[in-house]
């Protein structure tokens, strides 16, 4: 099999907040049709890494490449246009609008209709139908007319995923998609991710804590710790490696005293 060029690459990707290096020279390539799980303890820089790829944060140094194009300097919507989709860890929706309208807005963006000033929004039946189709996929069609703020937490998580699916991106980034979902709702999302993965056409990045989820879905695991990429490879092997055990469980050999930083205040990156 010919080796296809990776869809998404990060090269020496680095960001600092004041003196704190939150993501430190992370180089990694993601290939088409694969699902990569990104794991690491809290504060390891996973969400920050996501923010650097989807553009919410700009890299201090290093590059992000999508299909051979350097997108490091592009903004969030530009990257979104080029096919990077993201579902957020903390549910991030349009709370006063209806469920249908939330998804319809995504479809509308996808159809490049946002600057259509003079037609009626409710006359674009095809956009509405597409939105309803996606809602049906995540079993939210019954709640389509409700305002988002009236939805239970689990349904909001589903909507979060639905909005990314509606974008039909090449690269899908899930940041803990099942967090806060009740046990019976989780399979809906996992099935969806599995289906997307079976497309073989997409590249999926998944931040997840639940090992059973990772085992059942991931082709590959990369481990971040303190902003650095410390392990990369087959799920089973990576989890056994000493460095990962150390990262999670903290049974490391003695090391020296930490040096104080000499720079200004540290800002908490928010997703």
């Amino acid at each position: 099999m010919a080796i296809e060029a990776p869809v998404l690459t990060t090269q020496d990707l680095t960001i600092r907040f004041g003196g704190h290096v939150a993501v430190d020279q992370v180089s990694c390539a993601f290939e088409r049709g694969t699902l990569t799980a990104i794991v690491g303890p809290n504060g390891a820089g996973k969400t920050t890494y996501f923010n650097l790829i989807s553009g919410q944060l700009r890299a201090y140094s290093g590059t992000v490449t999508l299909n051979g194009e350097d997108i490091t300097r592009l903004g969030v919507p530009e990257r979104c246009d080029r096919g990077i989709g993201r579902a957020f860890q903390l549910t991030n929706l349009f709370p006063t609008l209806s469920v249908r309208e939330n998804v319809r807005l995504v479809v509308q963006a996808q159809a490049r209709r946002g600057f259509d000033l003079f037609s009626r929004a409710d006359s674009h039946i095809e956009l509405i139908e597409r939105a309803e189709h996606v809602l049906a996929e995540v079993h939210l069609l019954d709640q389509a007319d409700q305002p988002v703020s009236a939805l239970p937490h689990g349904d909001q998580r589903k909507l979060e995923v639905a909005m990314m699916i509606a974008l039909a991106p090449q690269v899908l980034m899930f940041d803990e998609p099942t967090a806060g979902m009740s046990v019976d709702e989780v399979p809906v999302i996992l099935d969806l991710i599995r289906e997307l993965k079976n497309d073989r056409d997409r590249t999926i990045l998944l931040v997840e804590h639940k090992m059973d989820v990772i085992r059942s879905l991931a082709d590959r695991i990369i481990v971040l710790h303190n902003g650095q990429l410390v392990a990369d490879g087959d799920p089973a092997e990576v989890m056994k490696s000493p460095i990962v055990q150390e990262a999670y469980l903290g049974n490391a050999p003695e090391d020296g005293q930490e040096a104080p930083a000499k720079s200004a205040s540290e800002e908490v990156a928010r997703g």
């Binding site: 303890p41 809290n42 988002v148 703020s149 967090a179 990962v244 469980l249 903290g250 490391a252 104080p260």
Partner: protein, 241 residues
């Protein structure tokens, strides 16, 4: 169990349109360390913030040392004897370490004996006394945040993930310090994801998921029962052991 210092009964908390705590029942006995385990987004931090009055519960009751504290203001809860070490450490980076400590002594001045005990517990506090706190490393900031919580005698200290983002050696130092603190008869409610740290400090343990407590018992019981661990670890920890 003996004397209950803090009790949450059926606490519900909404953040904006979101329903985060969905009926938390939790008891923290006087003395020792109680650990609250749970994975990301389970509601652990929200529980601490609700106790502290930073979110106001929409339902349920919180009793502390014989008085009902839900609905009271944060300063009042603080003055009732609860200290708080938040997840982001909440240090004032523009102020020096010393100024941070001065403000933490709400009564106006620091007890010199306590201060020297703290400086012994966390040597960097003495070393960097006159430096802006923003220039400290993550571990040192965490030490400062804990030091602020104990500069005055408190009945209960809430600590939110002190191991987060810290190097192993620093985590060990922090664990040792908390163990010493435990000997001073202060009650600690510790939120952790690092099971190693939780195990070595905790007396009692509660596990949260989806805004509820799904297990409560002693740490010894949990540490001994591998089936129970297996069942709960998936919820509480990032990795199976």
């Amino acid at each position: 169990m003996a004397d209950i210092l803090l009790r949450l009964a059926g606490v519900h908390t909404h953040i904006g349109p979101y329903h985060i705590l969905q009926g938390v029942d939790l008891e923290v006995p006087r003395g020792g360390v109680s650990v609250l385990l749970g994975r990301n987004g389970a509601g652990k931090s929200t529980t601490l913030r609700s106790i502290m009055g930073l979110w106001t519960p929409s339902e349920g009751e919180i009793h502390f040392d014989g008085a009902r504290i839900d609905g009271q203001s944060t300063p009042a809860i603080s003055r009732a004897g609860i200290a708080y070490v938040p997840e982001n450490m909440g240090i004032f980076s523009d102020l020096t370490v010393g100024e941070n400590m001065t403000l933490a002594a709400a009564s106006g001045k620091m007890d010199p004996q306590r201060l020297s005990w703290i400086k012994e517990l966390f040597p960097p506090i003495a070393t960097f006394w006159d430096r802006p706190a923003g220039t400290l490393s993550g571990g040192q900031k965490q030490m400062l945040s804990v030091s602020r919580a104990i500069i005055e005698p408190r009945k209960l200290i809430l600590i939110d993930e002190p191991s987060k983002g810290l190097a192993p050696a620093i985590i060990r130092a922090m664990t040792d310090a908390l163990r010493q603190l435990k000997e001073t008869e202060t009650t600690i409610l510790l939120v952790e994801q690092n099971f190693q740290m939780a195990k070595s400090l905790g007396d009692t343990v509660a596990v949260m998921d989806d805004g509820r407590i799904v297990h409560a018992g002693t740490m010894a019981e949990l540490a001994a029962d591998s089936d129970l661990q297996e069942r709960l670890m998936g919820l509480s920890l990032e990795v199976h052991q």
